[in-house]
Symmetry: none
Subunit: 416 residues, 2 copies
Amino acid sequence: MNDLRIDGKRLWNSLMELAQIGATPKGGVRRLTLTDEDRRARDLFCRWARDAGLAVEVDGIGNLFARRAGTDPSLPPVAMGSHLDSQPSGGKFDGAYGVMAGLEVLRTLNDAGIRTRAPMEVVSWTNEEGSRFTPVLMGSGVFSGVFTLEHVRAQKDLEGVSVGDALEKIGYAGGARAHRLSAYFEAHIEQGPVLENEGRTIGVVLGALGQRWYDVTVTGQDAHAGPTPMELRQDALIGASRLVLEVNRIAREFPDYARGTVGFLQVKPNSRNVIPGEVRTTVDFRNAKASTLDAMCDELKRVAKAIEAQCRVSIELRENVYFKPCEFDPALVGHVRAAAAALGQSHRDIVSGAGHDAVSIARIAPAAMVFVPCAGGISHNEIESATPADLAAGCDVLLHAALKAAGVAGVSRAAA
Amino acid sequence: MNDLRIDGKRLWNSLMELAQIGATPKGGVRRLTLTDEDRRARDLFCRWARDAGLAVEVDGIGNLFARRAGTDPSLPPVAMGSHLDSQPSGGKFDGAYGVMAGLEVLRTLNDAGIRTRAPMEVVSWTNEEGSRFTPVLMGSGVFSGVFTLEHVRAQKDLEGVSVGDALEKIGYAGGARAHRLSAYFEAHIEQGPVLENEGRTIGVVLGALGQRWYDVTVTGQDAHAGPTPMELRQDALIGASRLVLEVNRIAREFPDYARGTVGFLQVKPNSRNVIPGEVRTTVDFRNAKASTLDAMCDELKRVAKAIEAQCRVSIELRENVYFKPCEFDPALVGHVRAAAAALGQSHRDIVSGAGHDAVSIARIAPAAMVFVPCAGGISHNEIESATPADLAAGCDVLLHAALKAAGVAGVSRAAA
């Protein structure tokens, strides 16, 4: 059993075939959630799952569960997964790797004829990215009770299309209900530079940074750029630019892995000779420690007041996401570390800066993650890249950690 | 003669009747150049001009000239005017006021039986706004030799209709040739907040700000907001925000009516949890003095270099518009100031931040402008508003300044 390895070439080929769906000219993927590209990726996954003899179910928010039976039907399944949706200019591995790695683990068990005590399943969570519809981590959030199905079905994209309508349009509003999980493992590219910088292959993920996100509206008064003297302006973009720089300063000054990002900014009316009357923007704060994260947000509110007074604008901050810092299950983290060691893979403990479906699932089940390096730490980008060898190594770790959680019941004669 | 006043009620009624053509539900005007609405406005103006005994001519680009004879046929006319076209969501006064005020001046001279030495004429310039066809200031630009008639007749709107075809369709491609002008006066709403802010009625316009416009691209590297440590980021929006604030600082620190605006800004990929990799934005610098305008641009280039180094981004500046500052004719400006003083109107010297037909005409003839306040400084908007009293006061100033330029030859018995 210790010699069991996944098929790295099959894993790679699955990733490359999947990446054709929504492929961009620069080698990335644009597969926004609940679009036709997402539907085609789901169709392909379901076909592969059925080809592997797995039973596929879809729940109300469109999460896909592909189950391989265990010998003890009383045990909840050990799940492995991630997501198939991408950022607007995303890469081939973010999310897709965790789903394809889970599928590869079950294909490997099929090939080897290994029966597990607990059932095992591969999961694809709906709308992890949050690019088209907020909130992010939508599917895993509904599954773990963070959001109600009614609430998220009513969310709309910029064109006014609701999640519910989009789900029905692509045919993935299913009827399966949430079920218990014995364990949840998620393999993922690191999306940061730490493993590559240290030349290590496996990140044993201890937990994830907490996050607090805001929608921000800066309101001034639009006016003709020529005749309006500087001192009489109420330029919303001046206020917004000040805020962008303050978010950056706060993240640089606070401890505990503080991060702060303004990734979205929209100007109205956005004409080169009109003073902006309104800016809609966002703030994304992260920290490993809940109290420091709160202190960053208090500082943001303080500087927003100061900017309002100095720039003659009003600033509205609406918090729309709060994820506490997350600690993964020590036993499952131990399985990941032990598997990496047994496989002879160089590894280190690491904290995730990004949110992952595993963070939602950790609320209701033991969870853990396996990280592999990505080139330059670059993700959410068309040039996102990972090597076949690293991806295979991470999938082997996933295999052995998940097998440990599920328990081996035996090997069938046909494959033995 | 000093007691002569225009008929404020007639002026207001003419403006309100004209504003019915292309009237919008919110009280504004949509009268895009060379459309059927423009034709109807021209027809009404021509009828009123002929009713006032004026000789109407149309030139090749559709500029309308309505002339009242003087006693000395060797003198070129003293012209007054502006434009009848509007922005897509424009107001009742931008442009229309200057044409109706010119007409009211000649109606007033008729009523009073005043003969002038120079002929006087009211002009309506074609396509000042540039909303349907570029370039802006088209009719006055052709008249003053900035553009050739052939060039502008070939310009097309978004539907592919050319200026030449549109002119012929509405029946306003005339045969009159460009002629000399003794003087040109343009009455206009300020389109800015200065007069209202100071509680003054008349703006004595010294000239118009020069303009230098840039397209700007800030390039960094997009990356996932969570796992990327602050010190390793190349955030294009940090660079762009620094630039926005520097444009504002430069405009506040430089003299000579300096203005600086970033009105357009577009973030890529514009996702809340992705560090922006690229920002496209613009800079609009204006100044009354060419050397100061140049110095502002030099300072912009210097700070862009500094931001590149500090923020680990690259910044490309591409200049795409340069209009020199315009100084109006000191003698005519003096006539405007003297008329305002003689009429007991509160007034101040002012510089136009926007372009006007008078700026084109100033290239070939002595020119000046009279500004009146508009509510909140708001223009290019359906809620654009000005009071009957202010509009009448500006028209009285126009009357006396233009009379000074044309010279009074006498008063006819009938009216005396």
